[in-house]
Symmetry: D2
């Protein structure tokens, strides 16, 4: 008799294939679930493999559009970067994948969900916090001694294979040394802080749906070797780990969004929003996408983006993104005000008072000396 049905987040790889078999051995019915979030994979081959291993059903779900619109776009609005460097592609994907998994579990009447994330990593948390927020029970084999004691050997092998094959490491980006000797020049149009069109200026080619925009930025960014990093990061559970990541499209967008945001957003709103963006990044990294506080922060950040609108021109070349210029109907930049030669209605005298008032506190005890005034009217 079956112990119940498990919806397993299945990748087609060695790990989750082992888990599928093991779950069946333990007496569960298994539904294999593959999420297509844009990775390069032979989904039909994975389907056949799952079926041959005994999956009762296999679901291959195209989540690409909702991944871009509902997960990547809010991260773009937030300038989401963990520990000053990591753009968190994986962290943003987990809740997207888990939400659909829970939907399938509900629809199919499954009692359990399961995944192949290991017991020392961040992904187990990202996955499970979303599941717990939505309801089901979780089987995490890599935390079950019966499982991990049995399969450790194969993992050793697999890990070894991976760690001795660094050529595979970067899938999306070219080595900058081998990338084109000519830059591509892009113009990205934003509205409400998210991209609404990308244009390759030289080729006069445009994309304007979220998925197409993001895919194209991944393609062009990847072609020029943009977005590779080798970092040590602090996992939520307190370990440091080394990570090698590539985020070509995300890196282009981060640069472009930072630029249009500073161009159109009030200085002090920006300061407050910067703090919220850091908080958002920590929450997402730690797996709290589906939490009250992350909902709250996302709402506040989205509010801040209402005037983040306009176009950014940039070139992509040899691993680097260069901002070339920007324009916006909502710009707060005032060329005349800022000009040295046109006084406009700005009175430089005011700066004297501004500075002296700021100085009152800076050196309280020498105040006598400080505020003594010159004979010029406003120096």
């Amino acid at each position: 008799m079956s112990k119940g049905t498990v919806v397993l987040a299945y990748s087609g790889g060695l790990d989750t294939s082992c888990i599928l078999v093991w779950l069946k051995e333990q007496g569960y019915d298994v539904i294999a679930y593959l999420a297509n979030i844009g990775q390069d994979e032979d989904f039909e081959a994975a389907r056949k493999k799952a079926e041959s291993l005994g999956a009762k059903k296999v679901f291959i779900e195209d989540l690409r559009s909702q991944f871009v619109e509902n997960f990547i776009w809010p991260a773009v609005q937030a300038n989401a970067v963990y520990e000053d460097r990591y753009l968190m592609g994986t962290a943003v994907a987990r809740p997207c994948i888990a939400r659909r998994q829970v939907e399938i579990a509900r629809r199919e009447g499954a009692q359990f969900v399961s995944h192949g994330a290991t017991g020392k990593g961040n992904d187990q948390i990202r996955f499970e916090l979303t599941c717990y927020a939505l309801y089901p029970e979780i089987i995490a084999p890599w935390r079950i001694p019966e499982f991990y004691n049995r399969f450790r050997g194969r993992t050793d092998l697999m890990e070894y294979a991976q760690s001795h094959a660094p050529a595979d490491l970067y899938l999306m980006t070219k080595n900058p040394e081998d990338s084109p000797n000519e830059p591509d020049v892009l113009e990205i149009a934003f509205k409400n802080g998210v991209p609404v069109r990308v244009t390759n200026v030289k080729e006069n080619k445009s994309e304007d749906t979220p998925l197409d925009i993001f895919s194209y930025l991944n393609e062009i960014g990847g072609k020029h070797g943009v977005g590779r990093i080798d970092i040590v990061e602090n996992r939520f559970i307190g370990m440091k780990s080394r990570g090698i990541y590539e985020t070509p499209g995300g890196t282009v967008l981060l640069n472009a969004h930072l630029d249009i945001e500073t161009f159109t957003m009030d200085k002090e709103v920006r300061r407050i929003k910067q703090g919220l963006g850091i908080r958002f990044s920590e929450l997402v990294y730690n797996g709290f996408w589906d939490s009250p506080e992350c909902d709250f922060v996302r709402h506040c950040i989205a509010k801040s983006q209402e005037n983040v609108e306009g176009k950014v021109q940039l070139s992509v070349f040899k691993g680097q993104v260069y901002i070339l210029g920007r324009e916006s109907p909502k710009s707060l930049y005032n060329e005349e005000l800022v000009s040295m030669d046109v006084q406009g209605n700005y009175d430089p005298c005011d700066a004297s008072g501004f500075i002296r008032i700021n100085a009152v506190r800076v050196n309280y005890h020498q105040l006598e000396a400080k505020v003594a005034l010159l004979h010029y009217s406003c120096v």
Copy 2:
């Protein structure tokens, strides 16, 4: 009869030459003061020019070592970046220059200091807050109507000249498109969060004084076109302005320091220190280097750097800095702990409890469902 003596921060350029002459016309004795903070300039030609314009004395002060040690190094420790992008070379230089100017004013018995910073910019504030903190009276001609109404014409001319000569814009960095097709590989050794040696790995060349290290990083960074940015920034006085900057050495150091810091610093100390670094950057940008709060923040940041020690390997290529690896006697990275195959003393079971406790709050009302336990001992 003289109205008193003014120490003028003199650059040798058109602006401060006009100011020198005008101050004399107004009845002041003028001491010209040139600070050498590493800029490419013919100091002796400037000395002669100042003398020919009627300066009573001319002081040319080599501040390069103290600029690097006392101003750039604390900024490196802080990962100082204003509004996520600007590395603030100028902002860090102003208090260094102003401090010596006040020293000269005191030593020479001058009643006033003066500078050529304009009335709409940040530099007037950076300059004057340091002066006020230390004591003297300030003459700021660009805020005196008698001055700026008279000289506006010439300035227009000069500005025009500058704005139509963008070739001069970058003085330290090559255009990445024209930079070498071979990377340079550097190893930077840190102690207490500041660099203590840089080695060019291929050329087996090393530098180990602060000034030599920084100069060499400027040279290598510049050769590879590192650190150019074109941004719109928010000035302290509330205007947005466009800035085009190059910070080759600073950009290399920011990348290297971020890396060794994350490698050696506790995760939660890092979070708190990140917030202090942002505050530090705002203070420095706004001109508050010499203020109680900036002293306090610098002290706290320096404290956080006690274990930031080790070596970072990186390559510099076509405008980009790539971290290749790092090592440290103070590393908190534990390869065994993090390994998927070696369990060590870490019990994956613990992660189950950790996640479930974190989930308690995430969806309070569905708690019943959430904490229902599987029959496996620790899932």
Copy 3:
């Protein structure tokens, strides 16, 4: 010929009466404007005085309801307290008063607004930043040498009179030593983080409009001597000044709101909102009520209040507010979950894992010892 029309924020007191006369002497037409925000004042006497001093028109505006709803209520939602102690009654009133003044200036075609705030205080800034945000030109006599040099003598006198009459200091609150020996017990109902009804439990008396609620809380709080403070505070312009304040109704509301908020708001949302509340308080104190960043923060805080709903019971006695209990349909408090004797679906075992994972980082180098496990299944 008139230099134009000035709308003067007139109080009926010595200061603004002097200003009224002086403005007329200078050649302006003066419209006197008195804002009724609930202060105890003979408005008709003030009207007659203004007219007798030569005011062209006199406007007495009842702003009480909008003051409570649009200014005090957002401050309640924010738990607005400056420097941990000051509830900022005055700071919240200024933008309310200034907004109407600008409306009058527009309607009456006046070119100028004017006020009696002094040149060293916060109120000049609070007043003028709102005016500048809305448009008009400002005459601030206390910063005009021709004015303050002439009237200093009278001010000296007036100040002297004030400083030697401390009996008048507290207008709304009784001395706690003389307050009733029996507490009043109140129940305050909240919705969206603002009070919607107050009930005096013993007297079975209720109020349920914003103005009536706030007035009643001022009355009861004042009767029991609640909300008196004697503090030194940091003015925006960098001086420290001593202030003696009374905020009876505000103090009762702060206590009640803190209680219902913690009862109904998610823990982590609360932490983020606490930071926003501190920022809000600084902005309001400094005069930035009408600024992009204060609009943004108010929006975020209002969003956080959607579930802040329920009733708080409290007693008011001898200067102190005691929370007696609270209830809410939106409570996140779960008596069973928290009980020591009912396990519910919470598994204490999970806490072991939670603690051990939190300990991983706390003492990295002693990890061996730390994660060694006992023989009990989940200790």
Copy 4:
């Protein structure tokens, strides 16, 4: 044969007595350890009880002085308050108790430490994080099913008894309704942000060691019913729980320290330190006293206290603390500067420029109107 030796944090009460017996039944040798941190308890009776239940050894440790100096004083410097209301007496005591327990375990060669904190509370975490930071293995019976399933009945009984005897709830504070009708007036002298003497002004009685000062403040505060609160708080593990606390001495000190700190500390240092104090409070509440980040924050806070020196006069009456005045050799308060009648070297004109520059950003698009200047020289 013994399974090893356990040092048990023993209170003399029912819970830890049960644990003592149960540990012996399980085959451990038990050392009972009682920490005297100032609680009202018959330590000799507890010693006899422990011995009669089979403790191998009993240690009664007087930690009162180190508790005040090393734990309460840093909390005073931080103005430590959790969630705006809770002064965390218990949270501060746990690491103090646990440190000594680990010392005893080391000295006596014990393999284990144990405690009676329950599986849903904060104290288990506070206790164990300190233990893990220092090294030993922990037995937490309330998280061991064999224990809690057996003893639940007794606990029910005990809990019932406790919950039906609220008269015992407040041990240190009088009901304010029954407290004296005359205030006590105290003067507290601070140095480096901690109290160095307390004087009862009317009785001319002084205390000047940390323990005596704190004990006396507890006595006087308790006599006047100061520091009672009834709150709902958010536990670290994500539950909300109701707590009823009394902190008489701590409440007096919080008020006095806030006052002398604002009087002597630079405004902007204070803002940064306020943020660090909130972080410190969260860390302490959550049990991270012995962590790298709490060490760091404590260091920074201590640095901020170098000038926090002077005397605060206050009265204690009917549950309330009233600040009467303060004085300090390090005061940044400058009576002349702040005076309305003495201009000093402060030029009110400067405030015009200060305000106008702050207004530049507030309403960018209406700039034309805003910065139009009046004909008065500096309005």
